[in-house]
């Protein structure tokens, strides 16, 4: 449903996107990840037809973004990064506004996304500005879905939203996926990315990884160890690990120090604590990949 081929975009001397290719199939969720400034929002701007000044090819449902932007707009629902609703309008008025703009009825949302609307309906007369963070995002998705698009684009819809509300938002997305909607969503939450069908990881405007979470995990190239690390011993642990030549990297993860090592790494203990081998998470995969990239401001 979404096809991007060799997309490039520069702003002055800054190369925001460089040779980015990927696709999102019908009924698939692709999580877009990467550091702040990696090019995620620029990519959304291009696919949502906001930014026509790009190189390469992009299409939605077979329609060229460059040649027929108005045709693309009918196929997509877009939830931008910043709260884009009218805070002084009520929930019902916001929905009516967006439905009118798309030339459809606000009542359609009841059939398109019944679960989502059921949660919002009790607040229909409440001003959008007075909704909680999670509810605002649910309303934003409703407004983006009111014209029943094939494709949903969501730019960091769960920033600052509490874990339960985030879970609710993702349940709604899973319901839309099962109805065949193709979803491209950017997030910094790794627990969200892991439930996507694929993760597209951008770094400095380029595709660093594009694969399913399971395949990313199975391709992790090191043995990973965890060490419970009391805060008071942090410096000692870091010093001992820095002296081990087999250690490729170490970093805090939860209450543990994660240690990526190769070869015959069997120190027994570090700072008096026993190491245990553990399985990598998606965060370990990203950290490993990024450790080969230069740190940029």
């Amino acid at each position: 449903m979404i096809r991007a081929g060799h997309i490039g975009r520069s702003f002055g001397r800054t190369r925001a996107l460089d040779d980015v290719s990927f696709s999102v199939a019908k009924g698939e969720i692709v999580a877009l990840m990467g550091a702040n400034g990696a090019g995620k929002s620029t990519l959304f701007d291009i696919i949502s037809t906001v930014d026509p000044e790009f190189q390469g090819e992009a299409s939605v449902a077979g329609i060229s973004v460059r040649e027929n932007p108005s045709g693309v707009r009918k196929c997509i629902g877009y939830v931008p990064g910043r709260f884009s609703l009218y805070p002084d309008l009520t929930v019902g008025e916001n929905l009516e506004f967006f439905a009118t703009a798309y030339g459809c009825s606000p009542d359609a949302i009841e059939a398109i996304s019944p679960q989502l609307w059921r949660g919002l309906k009790p607040f229909i007369n409440l001003r959008a500005g007075n909704l909680s963070g999670g509810m605002k995002q649910k309303l934003a998705i409703c407004c983006a879905m009111v014209h029943n698009p094939f494709v949903l684009l969501l730019d960091e819809p769960t920033v600052g939203v509490d874990p339960v509300s985030r879970h609710d938002v993702w349940e709604e997305l899973a319901a839309l996926r099962s109805k065949g909607v193709a979803i491209l969503i950017s997030t910094h939450y790794l627990d969200e990315a892991i439930v996507a069908d694929k993760i597209l990881f951008l770094h400095q405007g380029r595709v660093l990884l594009f694969d399913s979470p399971a395949d990313m995990l199975s391709a992790y190239p090191h043995r990973l160890y965890a060490l419970e690390c009391p805060i008071g011993q942090l410096q000692q642990v870091k010093a001992e690990l820095s002296a081990c030549k087999e250690v490729r990297g170490f970093y805090l993860r939860g209450g543990n120090m994660h240690i990526a090592a190769d070869g015959e790494f069997a120190p027994g203990t570090i700072a008096g604590h026993t190491l245990r081998e553990t399985k990598p998470t998606i965060e370990d995969v990203f950290i490993d990949k990024l450790s080969f990239q230069s740190q940029t401001l």
Binding site: A35, N36, V159, G160, V164, G232, L234, E283
Partner: protein
């Protein structure tokens, strides 16, 4: 160990809404206290009271010295360079020129900011701006550091860098109160206070409260 923050039976109302309701907590030197809760649970109101930005309606709050504070939105002056921001805030904190120069050099070294010290802050990524904000918050060497969702909207690497800095501060004896929506970050903390509708729903060591991130969700329901 004597506490460096002591809040006893603190309450705060906004109109008919009880934002914080009869809440008590303490913080010890070197402790990292994670403040969790749903949107609207009262975390930011509590933090603003602990910082002295708003006054409680009932109860008492005592903090050892002026806390270092960092909020979700960037507090740096975007038109100034990194070095200028450090000098500006150093002067605001009443530090001498030599001390500001020395601490500024330490910050630039530890964050490897060298090539960028003369770059305007607005040209830096949000992850780096938060790291610099945190460095500035600890400039006057506060005994207590209060951080309101400092990692919101940051990517995984930037979060990791910020947490390294927080852990380093705590290992040097600073007490830290930090609110977050990232459940994995709860396990970076030495203790947790979980708020629900303005009240303390649970508190204790993360491992004692929950075996996993998903277990923590039970406290939000």
């Amino acid at each position: 160990m004597n506490p460096i923050v002591k809040a006893e039976h603190v309450s705060k109302h906004f109109g008919c809404i009880k934002a914080v309701d009869d809440l008590s907590l303490t913080l010890a030197p070197g402790e990292i206290l994670g403040l969790l809760g749903a949107n609207g649970a009262g975390k930011t109101t509590l933090i603003r009271m602990l910082c002295g930005l708003i006054r409680q309606d009932a109860g008492s709050i005592w903090v050892d010295g002026r806390p270092g504070y960092m909020c979700q939105s960037f507090s740096l002056i975007e038109e100034l360079t990194v070095s200028e921001n450090i000098r500006y805030y150093g002067a605001l904190y009443g530090l001498g020129k030599d001390e500001v120069r020395e601490r500024g050099a330490q910050i630039e070294d530890s964050l490897r900011l060298g090539p960028y010290r003369d770059r305007q802050v607005r040209h830096l990524s949000s992850g780096w701006r938060q790291a610099i904000s945190l460095s500035i918050a600890v400039l006057p060497r506060p005994k207590v550091l209060i951080l309101d969702e400092p990692t919101s909207g940051l990517d995984a690497m930037s979060r990791r860098r910020l947490w390294d800095m927080i852990q380093d501060s705590a290992s040097a004896g600073t007490g830290v109160i930090i609110s977050t929506h990232y459940l994995d970050e709860a396990f970076y903390c030495s203790s947790l206070a979980i708020m629900k509708s303005g009240r303390l729903a649970a508190s204790g060591h993360p491992g004692d409260l929950a075996g996993s991130e998903s277990d923590l969700l039970n406290f939000f329901e």
